[in-house]
C-alpha cells in the first residue's frame, strides 16, 4: 500500500490507521556483506509475513545489525536483495524507503520538542502544520506522552525518549518498522514496560517489524518468530517456544536459555538411558553430549548422592543450584526456592533427569 493511500484511509481513525493497516511483506534474499576481511553477512535469507514481528537474535558480530541496516538503506549489500511487497528496494535511498526506525542510542533531535520530533517525518512528507500537529499529538498520546509534547529531549527520561522515538517512527506509517536494540540503554524495569508497550502497539497497527537484539529474553517475549544468527547466517528461525523446546543446533540450544552439557555416558548415572547417535545427534565418533535444560533436572538431598552442590543462586521463585557430578562435570539445576532452602553448598545430592535431552550434540 502506498503512503498516500495509507494516509487517506487512516485520516479519520485516531493514531493513523490504528488496527486498520496491513503490513508489508519483506524478503531478504541471499544477503552478503563484508567489511574488509570480516564477513558480516554470508547469504542471509529471511521472510517476514505482513504484520509479523521477527527478532534477529545473536551474539555481537553475528551480522544482525548489518542486516537491519541494509534493510533500512544505511548499508548496501555486496550481493543479494531486499524486497518489500515483492519490489526490490536495493536502489531506493534510505530517505525514500518508508521505513520507521528506532535506534539503540537516543536519536531524538535535541533542538526540537517531542511534538516536533514526531512531526518531523510528516513535515518531510509535506503535511500542513495543523494536520502535522494533530497527528503528532495522537501518536504521542498513543505512547502515553501526550502531556510531554512541549518538552525537549533533554527534559525527558531515557524511556520517554525511546517512546517518543517510537512515535516518531510510527508517525510516517512506515511499511516496515525497524528496531535496533531500542531498549538496551534503558534500565531493567523501564525495559520491561516498554517492550510490552512496543509489542501491543505493533500488533494493534499491524506493522511488519524487524527487531534486532542480543537479549534473548526480549526476543522470546516480543517476537512472533525469532531468528538466531551466527557468522552472518540464520542458524534457525522459529517461534519462541519451538526455539526453546526444539533447538535445531547446539549453538541455538546453548544461546537461547541456559543449557547443560552432559557427556552421554553419564546419563545412566542420572537414571536415564545413554543418548545414542540415533537420537538426532551427529556422528558419535568423538563422543556425544546430551543438552539438558536446568528445569529438566531434579535434585534431592542424599548422603550418597551422585553430586556435590557447589553454588546456589536465588532467582525469586526458582533457585539455580550448581552441582558437580563425577568427572568434574558441573550442571545447573532449577529448583523451586521453597524446596531449595535445605540444599546448601557442600551438600551431597542425587541429581536425576526428568525428561529426554533437548538435543544430542557432538562433544564440543
Amino acid at each position: 500500500m502506498s503512503m498516500k493511500a495509507a494516509r487517506d484511509t487512516s485520516s479519520s481513525s485516531p493514531a493513523g490507521g490504528a488496527g486498520g493497516s496491513s503490513g508489508a511483506t519483506v524478503r531478504l534474499q541471499n544477503l552478503s556483506r563484508s567489511f574488509g576481511t570480516v564477513q558480516a553477512l554470508a547469504g542471509l535469507n529471511l521472510d517476514l509475513a505482513p504484520g509479523e514481528l521477527v527478532a534477529l537474535l545473536g551474539p555481537s558480530g553475528c551480522g544482525k545489525t548489518t542486516a537491519l541496516r541494509i534493510v533500512a538503506g544505511f548499508e548496501t549489500a555486496d550481493s543479494g536483495r531486499v524486497e518489500v511487497n515483492g519490489q526490490d528496494v536495493s536502489p531506493v535511498p534510505a530517505a525514500k524507503r518508508d521505513m520507521g526506525m528506532v535506534f539503540q542510542s537516543y536519536s531524538l533531535f535535541p533542538n526540537m520538542s517531542a511534538l516536533d520530533n514526531v512531526g518531523f517525518g510528516l513535515r518531510m512528507r509535506k503535511l500542513g502544520a495543523a494536520e502535522r500537529r494533530s497527528r503528532a499529538s495522537e501518536l504521542l498520546d498513543m505512547v502515553g506522552l501526550g502531556a510531554q509534547a512541549g518538552q525537549y529531549p533533554h527534559q525527558l527520561s531515557g524511556g520517554q525518549q525511546q517512546r517518543v522515538a517510537l512515535a516518531r517512527a510510527l508517525a510516517i506509517e512506515p511499511r516496515v518498522l525497524l528496531l535496533d536494540e531500542p531498549l538496551s540503554a534503558l534500565d531493567a524495569k523501564v525495559r520491561l514496560q516498554l517492550r510490552e508497550q512496543i509489542r501491543a502497539l505493533q500488533q494493534r497497527l499491524g506493522t511488519t517489524t524487524l527487531f534486532v537484539t542480543h537479549d534473548q529474553e526480549e526476543a522470546l517475549s516480543m517476537a512472533d518468530r525469532v531468528g538466531v544468527m551466527k557468522d552472518g547466517q540464520l542458524e534457525q528461525i522459529a517461534t519462541p517456544h519451538e526455539l526453546y523446546a526444539h533447538p535445531a543446533t547446539a549453538f541455538v540450544a546453548e544461546f537461547v536459555g541456559t543449557m547443560n552439557r552432559i557427556p552421554s555416558e553419564m546419563l545412566s548415572l542420572l537414571g536415564h538411558a545413554p543418548a545414542a547417535a540415533g537420537d538426532g545427534g551427529p556422528d558419535p565418533s568423538g563422543g556425544v553430549d546430551a543438552l539438558v535444560r536446568p528445569e529438566a533436572l531434579r535434585i534431592m538431598a542424599s548422603p550418597n548422592g551422585n553430586g556435590i552442590v557447589t553454588n546456589r543462586t536465588f532467582l525469586g521463585q526458582l533457585t539455580r543450584i550448581s552441582v558437580r557430578l563425577s568427572g568434574d562435570v558441573v550442571v545447573q539445576v532449577d529448583q523451586q526456592s521453597t524446596e531449595a532452602n535445605a540444599i546448601t553448598p557442600g551438600a551431597s545430592v542425587e541429581v536425576s533427569l526428568l525428561e529426554a535431552p533437548v538435543l544430542v550434540a557432538e562433544r564440543g
Partner: protein
Amino acid sequence: MAAVVGDEMVQDAGPVPARRGNAGWLRRMPVWRWLILVIVGIYFIIPLVSAFRFTGTSAFPAVFRQEGFSSAFELSLKLAVITTVLTLVLMLPTTVYVHLRLPRLRRLMEGVTILPIVIPPVVLIVGVLQVAPGFLKSQPYLLALEYVVLAMPFAYRAFDAGLRALDLQTLVEASQSLGGGWGTTLWRVLLPNLRASLLSATVLTVALVLGEFTMASLDLYQTFPVWIVNFDQTSGPISVAASLLALVVTWLFLLAISTIGGRRSRRSGGAEVSMFSVGRRNTGGS
C-alpha cells in the same frame, strides 16, 4: 588576534546539572585562583589604562572625523562578513563530511588546519600573490579569501568540538529514515544543534578579520588596523584612541553574538556557548 580554541568541554553526567548560584560560585573560588586572575587582569589592564591616559577623552570624537576612517572601517566590516560567510559555508559541510564518512582523516584534518597558524603570514601572502588570478589581485576580496584560510583552524576546531558532542551518525540516519534529504538534514537537524559551534566560529572569524594587520598591509589594503598604524604617523593620540575604540567595538560585537546565541540555545536545551569552547548540555538521562 583571538586566543586558540580550547578543547571541547563535555558535561555528560546524569540529569540536567543544577546551575550554581553566582554567590556560591564566588565563595567557592580558592585564593590562588583569585591571585592568578588578578595578575592576569593587571597584565591586560595596564596597557589599556596607559593607552587611555595617553589619548585623553578629546581624541575619541576626533577619530570619526579623520580622513580614511570610515572607508577603512567599512572595508574591515565587509571583509568580516564575507570571510565569515565563506568560512561557514566551506568548513561546516567539510567537517560534517569528515566526521561522518572519513573519521580516519580527522587526525590529518587537524594537522592540515593548523598549517595557517604555523606558516608565517608573509610566506602565505607571497604564495597567494604568486598564484592568484589577475582580476582578483586588484580587489580587496582577495583578502577575504586569505582570511578564510587564516580562520580555518578556528572554524574547524569549533565545528569539530560541536560535532563530537553530537551523536552525528544517529541523528543523520534518524533524519534520513524519516525522509529527510541531505539539505534538510543539514539545515533542520545539524545546524540548530551546532549553533554553539557556529557562534564560536563566527566570533573567532570576526575577531580575526577585525584585528588582522600583516596580510592586509602586505597586500596594500587600507583595512581598519592598517589605517590605525598609518595614522599613527600623523597623530599618536588619535591613532591610539582608534585602536581602543576598535577593541571596544569588537568586544561589544562578540558579546552581542554570544548573548543572542546563548539565550536561544538555552531555550531549547542546547549547548552552552562560551567564546572558545562548546559544552554540551546532556541529552537526557540513561
